[in-house]
């Protein structure tokens, strides 16, 4: 691809004929982030910025930020933003999108935010088929508050609230959100990617694009989960954290597309399975 990655404008060329093929996306503010070294929120932010540029959405986007380490998303992505209470981003985004259906609306949520306190909001927004896109950053802990156990914490993983390691009998198994969201009626696209390697980052961006495009095409709810590292709370170096994703997270949280709806995006076509013969009773 000759196009400059991330930049909305045409590739920059200098006097010596060199072409700038990778630079900060125009939608991403040029300032240092507050994230720890090796934290994958930075990569996820950049991919969001690149896609907003590439899809030409910068002037027409409302970001709904959540509570977690990414609470300051609005400082980094140069679009209109709303800050939602913990877990409620999908509810806030529902309001934004229904008031302004012309806007591109996305939420950006961690696993504590989305899969714990915000479980109800995400499930019902997906089920209603809200025309929104969700970027779900799963780092298996409550990063911001010091690494407590999240619903996504792996069995045996030690956190401040399960110092002996998560135990299946006591705390249950890690929740696989993408698999759950894929089963809800309003979900038009659902996939899980990972930010641990160059190849996976490039694939994750393709999934994010699809999760964004089901909204811009009016097809329904778009969801993308990104497996991400939190070196600080995992007590690992950034390199060891990436290896943990590869070796431990991906085997439990498989990567891939879990749902991809085709059709004209009308409620009728999305609800088609329920209007099949025999599905009408139970009034």
């Amino acid at each position: 691809m000759p196009k400059t990655q991330g930049a909305a404008s045409a590739p920059k060329t200098n006097q010596t004929g060199e072409e700038l093929v990778f630079t900060r996306p125009a939608s991403m503010v040029d300032r240092a982030t507050h994230y720890c070294p090796g934290c994958h929120h930075g990569i996820a932010h950049r991919l969001v910025g690149e896609l907003i540029d590439e899809l030409g959405l910068k002037e027409n986007t409302v970001a709904v930020c959540s509570i977690g380490c990414s609470v300051f998303l609005y400082n980094y992505i140069d679009v209109d933003s709303v800050e939602a209470p913990h877990g409620r981003a999908p509810a806030v985004a529902t309001g934004v999108k229904r008031a302004r259906p012309d806007k591109f609306v996305f939420t950006y949520q961690g696993d504590g935010d989305l899969a714990s306190i915000g479980m109800a909001e995400i499930m019902h927004a997906a089920n209603r088929g809200e025309r929104m896109s969700v970027v779900f950053v799963n780092n298996t802990v409550y990063g911001m508050t010091g690494g407590q156990m999240a619903p996504t914490t792996l069995i045996g993983q030690k956190t401040t609230t399960c110092p002996g390691g998560r135990c299946k009998d006591r705390e249950g198994s890690p929740i696989r959100m993408s698999e759950i969201i894929a089963h809800l009626g309003g979900t038009a696209f659902c996939a899980r990617g990972s930010l641990d390697s160059v190849k996976n980052i490039r694939q994750a961006k393709k999934y994010m694009r699809q999760a964004f495009e089901v909204q811009t095409k009016g097809l329904g709810f778009g969801f993308v989960e990104l497996l991400a590292g939190c070196p600080t709370n995992w007590r690992l170096s950034p390199l060891a954290a990436n290896k943990r994703i590869t070796d431990e997270m991906i085997p439990y949280f498989p990567l891939g597309v879990f749902k991809e709806v085709e059709g004209d995006g009308t409620c009728g076509s999305m609800l088609a399975p329920e209007s099949a013969p025999g599905a009408e009773g139970g009034k």
Partner: protein
């Protein structure tokens, strides 16, 4: 001929870029930036080996790396 620039101000010394470079030319320097991080660098004598693949920039969580591609190797080169 390709090359990268590493922002001394933005690099957090995480070293993720050093592991993904196909020609392993990125290393940690001895320079400590304002935030206390030892920044990544490509030694001047190694820069000519850069393929312009942008792997380092893709994995950098801090958008500290820019990649420039020279026009010498004409199409047909598969760097993406």
């Amino acid at each position: 001929m390709s090359r990268i620039t590493v922002s001394e101000e933005r690099c957090k010394g995480c070293l993720l870029c050093t592991q993904v470079c196909p020609v392993t030319i990125i290393r940690q320097s001895e320079r400590i930036n304002q935030n206390g991080y030892k920044v990544a660098e490509v030694p001047a004598e190694d820069m000519a080996k850069c393929t312009g693949c942008a792997s380092c920039a893709t994995i950098c969580p801090d958008v500290a790396i820019e990649v420039w591609r020279g026009k010498k190797p004409k199409p047909g080169s598969k760097a993406a």
